[in-house]
């Protein structure tokens, strides 16, 4: 079981709720994925509270835990305010903390991220910070009070997969006891399996499932890949070799000449 701020979670797939073809397909994808945690957001209400209410009723009926995000915030103050509004609305101390630093790459502003994380942790929040694979930033986030880290493996929505596996491996090695969730950049089930084989604890997905030709089947495919990658990591993976090594024993082979 994965322990996230004292909550035991059996599924290692956290699923975003945006960009699905329909609410019904979103619901079916969540069920197919087995996810126990889904991310949600806050936006200006334009339908008298009815639009948000209908969406959240759907999520509530799925029986999953919500992880509100601060998506779209570009400063620590914006993110802190949004987090406090999310706590008031959703009734949870959990917050996926995003502070965007660049419009094109959606790269986190790690300086503002650490500032916001410190403020929110001091205020009783349990912060899931969307960060880079920078080890020093990770140290600062832990010092701020974060007990989970969520590094990207590629820019949000890029579907590029783990573009710097060396950095991801270093992060796993440096923080062996911190739950690490790859958040952003995964495009294929094999990407998810790859980061799980590195020893990551979970992955957070959205676009790769929501924009798939069949989101429900893709949700299941990711869940299967994540499980396979996790089992592979636990079983102990062989290190690659430069030269061949026969798998069939040499001893006892016939000699014909």
């Amino acid at each position: 079981m994965l322990d996230l701020y004292g909550t035991a979670v059996s599924s290692r797939l956290l699923l975003g709720t945006a960009r699905y073809p329909s609410p019904a397909i979103l619901a079916d994808a969540v069920r197919a994925s087995g996810a126990e945690i889904v991310t949600v957001s806050l936006r200006r209400e334009t339908a008298g509270g009815k639009a948000g209410g209908a969406f959240f009723a759907l999520i509530r009926d799925l029986g999953v835990r919500v992880l509100p995000n601060t998506a779209g915030c570009h400063s620590a103050k914006e993110a802190v305010t949004t987090a406090r509004m999310a706590r008031d609305l959703f009734g949870t101390n959990w917050i996926k903390l995003e502070v965007i630093g660049h419009h094109d790459t959606l790269q986190p502003d790690v300086f503002a991220l650490v500032d916001a994380a410190r403020t929110l942790c001091d205020d009783g929040f349990e912060v899931f910070p969307y960060t880079t694979d920078d080890l020093v930033v990770a140290e600062r986030l832990l010092e701020a009070g974060c007990k989970v880290l969520m590094p990207w493996c590629a820019p949000i929505g890029s579907a590029a997969g783990p573009i710097n596996p060396v950095a991801l491996r270093a992060m796993r090695t440096h923080f062996p006891d911190v739950p690490l969730i790859v958040d952003a950049g995964l495009g294929r089930p094999s990407h998810a399996a790859a980061v799980m084989e590195l020893g990551y604890d979970a992955v957070l997905l959205n676009t790769a499932v929501a924009l798939a030709g069949d989101p429900v089947v893709m949700a299941k495919a990711f869940a299967t890949a994540i499980d396979a990658g996790r089992k592979g990591f636990q079983a102990g993976l062989l290190s690659p070799r430069d030269m061949a090594e026969p798998s069939t024993p040499i001893i006892g082979r016939a000699v014909f000449s």
Partner: protein
């Protein structure tokens, strides 16, 4: 009557408190989070939060997110 900026739009309103404003706008307050002039106003505080001329009010609700 006072002028308020509600989710970026300037509107003349008669509401005295934030709770009255949500009621006048026919909003389902159970599904909303609110802030005034950049500061969060928790749901329990809306009824006692007096609005003033020119206040900037953000009214947010749950949305799909990644």
């Amino acid at each position: 009557m006072k002028t308020l900026i509600i989710n970026g739009e300037t509107q003349p309103m008669e509401a005295r408190t934030l709770a009255e404003l949500l009621c006048q706008l026919d909003y389902d307050a159970a599904w909303l989070a609110t802030a005034v002039n950049g500061e969060v106003v928790l749901r329990d505080a809306r009824a006692s939060f007096d609005l003033r001329e020119g206040d900037r009010i953000e009214i947010l609700s749950p949305m799909q997110g990644g």
